[in-house]
Symmetry: C2
Subunit: 145 residues, 2 copies
Amino acid sequence: MSTFFDATSLTHAELEEGTLLAPRFDALGLVTAIVQEAGSLRVLMLAHMNAEALKLTLETGDAHYWSRSRGKIWKKGESSGEVQRVVEVRVDCDQDAVLLLVEQTGRGAACHTGRKSCFYRIVDGAALRDSGEPRLFDPAEVYRS
Amino acid sequence: MSTFFDATSLTHAELEEGTLLAPRFDALGLVTAIVQEAGSLRVLMLAHMNAEALKLTLETGDAHYWSRSRGKIWKKGESSGEVQRVVEVRVDCDQDAVLLLVEQTGRGAACHTGRKSCFYRIVDGAALRDSGEPRLFDPAEVYRS
């Protein structure tokens, strides 16, 4: 199903400096995806992609992930309406992580708690402090059904 | 060795909305760390932390990671001089990822290839295109020895 080049057949230099997209999926078949908002450059969330999720993302321009908890492909926004339109995808040096620059549609909330970003708490000594990120939707309302 | 609160003893609401730092380390004892430059908001790199690396990062203010390839704690910059001073640490909703806002010291290169960011290639169809990120140091020179 994966149409990606096999990373194990590349030299170190080809992997890191070459022009072949050869994602290094881990033992669970996943790469890590960092999701950043294109305009603000805020980091919205961290997610995981299997080969199919990455392929669907590149083909459709809408972010798809692999849900480790539900064990299935997940189109971001399929329940909440908060679809992520992909502006640019980058890979890191050893191709085991991707960086998505996205336009966060809907109410602008990437997080299932209704906030723009999942990173709404700041580590403060041994505790966490709320950064004051407002809720853009009520999760009890959105995930009803 | 870990002094962090045990995430498994928290309710879902406490984990996601509470003020206790309770990192959810995975089966390998790791959380994922996204590293973002404080001024530019550029994503510099992705790394992993075990409990000790997170503790050292919070205690010293210098980013420490767990090297999966070398199987040891790694103070960022210990070989290259490219130390990362931590400005802020955030956790995500389910506390299995952290976001570090850092000042990238040294020549400003977070990547072992000598570039500022590890994400120097853009996915372009089935291929990768160089974003034109300049090398700030020569890795052959820096990692000699």
